[in-house]
Every structure is written in structure tokens, then in C-alpha cells.
């Protein structure tokens, strides 16, 4: 996909554990289109957080190991980028909001210092090397640069996300930024207002422990946005918040997507939250992407049995008859995943073909939209599933 911010191709991530390899993510492909919100749902332990942390290479490696695949970001495969180069890509290139808003701010620094640090990082990068070519590929576009290679990243010729050219340059920016401390402060205030914080001048001087959970998460969002990342990975950003705050934060994020041009990978186990925010939805089960498509299509006519059950297991206010459905069986142990489709032990429409290796990958579905894909051999039967 040409305008994908990040394009994950056949990514596999294993954890080395005492029992062997725990296959947390297997053969996942995913594109996040520019300006879109892509939601990832799945139950606990399905690998969605691992996937999210693997993109900016924040997983502890080892025990985590990227077994194969590519993470293409601005023309560079992040899997091949050395880890010590990654701090230059994180932040302004790929940023992340975590699920613990209560502990994600450093307790020793005031709000101002933390937001200012983020703004400062962005300023250094902006004034350094130009951000990777955003030129659209086309027949007459002579301004397009050649695709950078991992060796360019090694040699420092190119940094996805853009970084300061040299340490001398960086020092210069830092000096200038000290001189314009007032300007920095104004920008910090702007971002706090952007995330709808009342009386930001007071909030600036407070320590994180003096703020409520919703406030802290909004400050985290302000920090992430102030770096203007190309991709923002939100890993259950609202799970730790209560429902009213959750709604506020979600509304805010939706508004901000339009104000700051960024793409979001939204990871959640909460279908309601995903329905509220996402444009596309990916469903993960046992380390695999089992269904992907525009959110309305996936919600209205799921084409994978797991998605169907998952949607049915979610409480809605219209469901008044009988107890909530639960999917029979258990999530497989990913140290020894079942052969074939990983859902087949629990699947009502499983046939002998489903038990055979290799397990299905996302395929277009007959009778569904062109962008709707499912990893089920019998996807067309799913709508008839009772």
C-alpha cells in the first residue's frame, strides 16, 4: 500500500521462555494508512500489545525475538535498524501511549519539564535532517528521493522520523532553545490547552501525583502529540480509566486525530472503545490476525467465526435475553500452538482442512467488500453461523 504510514509484513515475534519459544505473534501483516485509525482487538494474551511494542522496537530483546518479517516505516525496515538507532525514530516518528496512565509520567518531574522535553525533542529533530520524503510516487515527480536502505540508517545518512544532523548542530539547537525558554513554555501551554486541560498555567507546576488519572493520560496524549509523530500507537490508553473519563479521553483523541495529522494504531480489548474510534479493525486471536476490514463491515458482517463469537460475547444494551455467550474451550498455549488454523479446536465449522498446516492467512472473501479479509477457509459460511 503506497500511502501506508507503517506496513507490517509477515511479522513473527517469539518470547524465549523456559519451556521453549512462546509464539506471541505469528505471521501478522498489517497496514496503517495515513490519517486512519486502525483498531486491534483480541482477548488478553493474543499478542496485540506485543505487536504494538514491537513496532517502535520497545520489546525487551531478549527475551523477545523478532523471528521474521518486516516493519516498513518510511521506506526503512525497522527490524533491521540497530537498536541504538531506534531512539531517533521513536518519538517524532513512532510514538506510543501506554495503558498505565498513572505510572507513565515520571514522578520526580513537574508536568512542565515532561511536556517540554517532548517538545524539545521534536524541535531538535525538526531543525535537523529533513523528514523522509513525503512525495507521492508518480510519473512526473522528479523530487522523489531514492528509497533509503538500512545501510543508510547505519551510516547515519538517513533517519526515519528525522534527527539532528550532528552533535554540534544539536548543541546549537539546545542553546537557542534555552534562549527562547518563554517560547517553549508557550508551546507547552498550547499543547496542554489542546488536550482540554483547564488552567494549564497551574497544572504546569504540579507533579504527576497531584493529578487525576484522566489528567495524567491527557498529559501523556499532549506529550505524544507535541512530537507530531507519524504514527501513534495507543496501547489500551483508556483501560485504567473509569467510564466517564474514558469517554472524555476517547472524544478528545478523535478530535485530535483531525487537528494533528497523525495515524493511530489503537489497541484495545474493549469492542465499544474500538467502535468509537477506529476506521479499520483487525481482530487477533492467539498471535494471528484473523480478520481485517473497515470497521462497519467487520462489525456488521464478521467473516471469521472468532470475530462473530467475540462480538456476540460483548454485552450490549439491547441484549436482554439469557446469559452472555462465552466461547467454548480455551485459548491455546502458544508454546505449542495447534497445527492449522489456531481457532479450529473451538470452531463450530471446523473441517479436516482446518487442522492441516499451514494455517490460513488473511484472504479476500467472496461476497464481501474488497478491503475485508479473513483468515478462514470457510469465510463465506460465517454469516450463516447461528
Amino acid at each position: 500500500m503506497p500511502d501506508a504510514v507503517v506496513s507490517i509484513q509477515h511479522l513473527s515475534i517469539d518470547y524465549l521462555v523456559a519451556a521453549g519459544r512462546f509464539r506471541a505473534v505469528s505471521d501478522v501483516s498489517l497496514d496503517v494508512p495515513r490519517g486512519h485509525v486502525v483498531g486491534i482487538v483480541g482477548e488478553t494474551g493474543c499478542g496485540k500489545s506485543t505487536l504494538g511494542q514491537a513496532i517502535p522496537r520497545l520489546l525487551p530483546e531478549p527475551p523477545a525475538i523478532i523471528g521474521g518479517g518486516k516493519i516498513m516505516f518510511q521506506g526503512v525496515d525497522l527490524v533491521k535498524v540497530p537498536l541504538w538507532k531506534m531512539p531517533l525514530i521513536r518519538g517524532t516518528g513512532i510514538n506510543m501511549i501506554f495503558q498505565e496512565p498513572l505510572n507513565s509520567l515520571n514522578p520526580a518531574f513537574r508536568v512542565y519539564d515532561q511536556v517540554a522535553e517532548a517538545v524539545h525533542i521534536r524541535r531538535i529533530r525538526e531543525s535537523g535532517r529533513p523528514v523522509a520524503s513525503r512525495a507521492q510516487p508518480g510519473p512526473y515527480n522528479y523530487g522523489r528521493r531514492p528509497e533509503p536502505t538500512p545501510s543508510d540508517v547505519w551510516s547515519g545518512k538517513f533517519t526515519p522520523g528525522g534527527a539532528a544532523a550532528s552533535y554540534a548542530h544539536r548543541r546549537e539547537v539546545e542553546r537557542r532553545s534555552r534562549e527562547t525558554g518563554e517560547e517553549l513554555r508557550r508551546e507547552v501551554l498550547d499543547y496542554l490547552r489542546l488536550v482540554r486541560i483547564n488552567d494549564p498555567e497551574t497544572i504546569l507546576n504540579l507533579y504527576p501525583h497531584e493529578l487525576s488519572g484522566g489528567m495524567r493520560q491527557r498529559i501523556m496524549i499532549a506529550m505524544a502529540l507535541s512530537e507530531k509523530p507519524s504514527l501513534l500507537i495507543a496501547d489500551e490508553p483508556t483501560s485504567a480509566l473509569d467510564v466517564t473519563i474514558q469517554a472524555q479521553v476517547l472524544t478528545l483523541m478523535k478530535e485530535l486525530i483531525e487537528e494533528v495529522n497523525t495515524s493511530i494504531l489503537f489497541i484495545s480489548h474493549d469492542l465499544g472503545v474500538i467502535a468509537e474510534t477506529a476506521d479499520e479493525l483487525g481482530v487477533m486471536y492467539a498471535g494471528r490476525m484473523v480478520e481485517f476490514g473497515p470497521i462497519a463491515e467487520v462489525f456488521e458482517s464478521p467473516r471469521h467465526p472468532y470475530t462473530k463469537f467475540l462480538l456476540r460475547a460483548a454485552p450490549t444494551r439491547y441484549k436482554t435475553d439469557g446469559p452472555l455467550l462465552s466461547i467454548p474451550g480455551n485459548v491455546p498455549n502458544l508454546s505449542r500452538p495447534p497445527p492449522g488454523c489456531r481457532f479450529h479446536p473451538r470452531c463450530p465449522i471446523a473441517r479436516p482442512k482446518c487442522r492441516v498446516d499451514p494455517s490460513p492467512t488473511l484472504m479476500p472473501i467472496a461476497g464481501a467488500g474488497p478491503e475485508h479479509t479473513s483468515a478462514c477457509h470457510y469465510a463465506e459460511e460465517v454469516p450463516t453461523l447461528s
Binding site: 531512539p87 521513536r90 507513565s104 514522578p107 488552567d199 497551574t202 504540579l206 507533579y207 487537528e259
Partner: protein, 361 residues
């Protein structure tokens, strides 16, 4: 700057906020409030301040405080405490009070220098060993090496090791510093490494990484600042402990040679060896009392310093209402409880085992 944030909806409200003095100003304010709330800390702090001022005066203008010069022999021999000689005189007519004061700057400087050098060297090693400890990397190898060397040093009782080194090096200021310093740094490695290991897995370090903060800055800013608090507390208590150890070395007779160089431990050793402890007890009492008061002051201050350095307890203790009008104070989070636990463990650490020396003779 394309896509800059939208123009502010609220007009900027002028406040007394100044970016430069922001942290310091408020920090000092909190400091005073905490001191007011803890009388014992206040006492410790005041004594430390007085000791510091006295040390400076003795260095700059000794005649303001000491009636007799260093090594000045008076004609009063074997005098008990009186207005002329607050701590009496010895057999050759040396005024013990003056002599004790003359020893103060040297003793303080030695204690601070040794504890400070141990904190910087050991703390730096601990920080590096704690943060870059992934097995199989250069940092991991270095970490293992540092920790094993630390273990070897900690396997010896520190006082015995210091005495042994002092014996082999001979008497003198530098020899004394080296002897104590060599036994002192491993405690800081342990302390800082443990704290670093605890802090580096906290979510905010991960969040800082995600924000693109470089590794060096994470260590030197985000982790160091959170490790600093127990270390500074430990340092303050440690100044007293070092002083006791120095005095012990002096008392055993391995410290500075007393009549030519005044140091509290050596003074006590000298008079005790001369058999004056029963005949002229004030000769030992003067320097002994000085050690006692100084160590006590640093202990009291160190205990209270923890509250000053922790922004959470600072605000609570200080009862500050000016800054936190609109903010809700949440119940203690898991992290806070962990921090408290860590502190409890930290205070259980080696301070006691090392302070076994003959405090105050």
C-alpha cells in the same frame, strides 16, 4: 512548523511563574515547611548549619572562636573545665576546646570527601551496572564484573579492611582517605544498582523511551533523579558513619599523628594512651562530645531529608495549598507503595552494621 497547535482558546493568565527559578524556589519553600513539621530534623539541620559555620570560621578567622592558637601551650596544666578553658587543658597546657575546634574542619572535610567520593564513584558504577545489565552484552559483562568485585569487597568487615589498609599505607591524610574510601564505595554500588533495577522497569522509563529520549538522557535524567533521593539520604547518614570510622581508626592509633595534626579520634587515642582518661577525663570528653554531636546531627538531618526530597511527602507534610488547588490527590498507587517498601528495605541496609564502632569513645 506546519500543523502547529491551534491558537489558545484561553487567554494566558499572568502568574508569578518564572521558568528559571521554578523548581528551586518552590523546593526551598517545601524544604522549610518540612523542617518546621519535623522538630528533630530541624534540630539536626540547625546543628549541621552551626557546625558548618564554625568550621568555616575556624578556617578563616580562628581567633573569633578559639582563645588559643593551634599547638599553643598555655601555662595552665591539667586544668578542669572552666570559663577560661571550657574543656580543660592537658598535661602540657594545650587547651582542649581550641584543639577540638581546630580539628573540626579537617574531620568534616574528610567525612564529606570520603562519603562524597564513594557516592560518586560507587553510585556511578551502580547506575551503569544497573541500567545496562542485559546478559550477553558489553554492559552486561561489565555489570557482572562490577558486582563481583563489589561482593569481594563487601565480604570483608569494612572496619577491619579499612584498618588493614591503613596499617599498610601508614599514617597521613591521604592514606586515611584511601583506606576508608576503598572500603566505602561498594555500599553505594549496591544501593544505586538496586534502585536502578527497580526504577528502570517502571512504566515511565518505557514511556520516555517511546517518546524518543536517548538512552544516556534516560539514565542521567529520568533514572538518576528517581534514584537520587535514597542515595542523598544515605549519603547524609553516611557522613556520620564515616566520621565514626575515621575516629575509630584514629582511636586505634592508625589515624593522623595527634600532636602535630589534630583529629578527634587521634586526640582521644592520644590522651587515652597517656592514661589521662581517669585523671583528666575532659581531655577525652571534648573530642568525644564533638564526634557525638556531629554524628547525631547528620543522622537527624538524614532521616528528615527523605521527606524533603520526595515531592509527594513534601507536599503532604508541607500542607501546601497554594499550588494544588485544582488537583485531586489520588490514593497511594501501587508504585508509591512499592517506593515505601523500597525505603523500608533501604533503611534496613548496612548503616547499622557499620556503626558498631565505639561512638564517642
Amino acid at each position: 512548523m506546519a500543523g502547529a497547535p491551534p491558537s489558545p482558546t484561553l487567554p494566558a493568565r499572568p502568574t508569578g511563574f518564572r521558568a528559571s527559578s521554578r523548581r528551586f524556589g518552590s523546593g526551598m519553600l517545601g524544604f522549610w515547611r518540612v523542617l518546621r513539621a519535623n522538630p528533630l530534623t530541624l534540630v539536626g539541620f540547625l546543628i549541621v548549619v552551626v557546625i558548618g559555620v564554625v568550621a568555616v570560621i575556624v578556617l578563616v578567622a580562628p581567633h573569633l572562636l578559639t582563645p588559643y592558637g593551634s599547638d599553643q601551650l598555655t601555662t595552665d596544666y591539667n586544668q578542669g573545665p572552666s570559663w577560661a578553658h571550657p574543656s580543660g587543658t592537658d598535661g602540657v597546657g594545650i587547651d582542649i576546646y581550641s584543639e577540638t575546634l581546630y580539628a573540626l574542619p579537617l574531620d568534616l572535610a574528610l567525612a564529606f570527601a570520603i562519603a562524597g567520593a564513594a557516592m560518586i564513584a560507587g553510585g556511578g558504577l551502580g547506575l551503569v551496572a544497573g541500567y545496562w545489565d542485559k546478559p550477553g552484552t558489553i554492559g552486561g559483562g561489565l555489570s557482572v564484573f562490577v558486582m563481583r568485585v563489589t561482593d569481594i569487597f563487601l565480604a570483608f568487615p569494612s572496619l577491619i579492611l579499612a584498618l588493614a589498609i591503613a596499617v599498610s599505607l601508614g599514617r597521613g591524610v591521604w592514606q586515611l582517605i584511601v583506606a576508608v574510601l576503598l572500603t566505602w564505595w561498594p555500599y553505594y554500588v549496591r544501593l544505586v544498582r538496586g534502585e536502578t533495577l527497580a526504577v528502570k522497569h517502571l512504566p515511565y522509563v518505557m514511556a520516555a523511551k517511546a517518546a524518543g529520549v536517548t538512552e544516556g538522557r534516560i539514565v542521567l535524567r529520568h533514572i538518576l533523579r528517581n534514584v537520587l533521593e535514597p542515595v542523598v539520604v544515605y549519603f547524609t547518614l553516611d557522613v556520620g558513619t564515616v566520621l565514626v570510622t575515621l575516629s575509630t581508626i584514629g582511636f586505634v592509633g592508625l589515624g593522623l599523628p595527634y600532636p602535630s595534626q589534630a583529629e578527634w579520634g587521634s586526640m582521644m587515642s592520644y590522651y587515652q594512651n597517656a592514661g589521662l582518661i581517669t585523671a583528666l577525663p575532659w581531655t577525652v570528653l571534648g573530642p568525644g562530645l564533638a564526634i557525638f554531636v556531629t554524628v547525631l546531627a547528620f543522622s537527624l538531618l538524614g532521616d528528615g531529608l527523605r521527606d524533603v526530597l520526595d515531592p509527594r511527602s513534601r507536599r503532604v507534610l508541607a500542607g501546601s495549598s497554594a499550588d494544588s488547588t485544582s488537583a485531586a490527590t489520588p490514593p497511594p498507587t501501587k508504585e508509591e507503595e512499592e517506593a515505601e517498601k523500597a525505603e523500608v528495605q533501604e533503611t534496613d541496609q548496612p548503616v547499622d552494621s557499620r556503626a558498631l564502632g565505639p561512638v564517642g569513645g
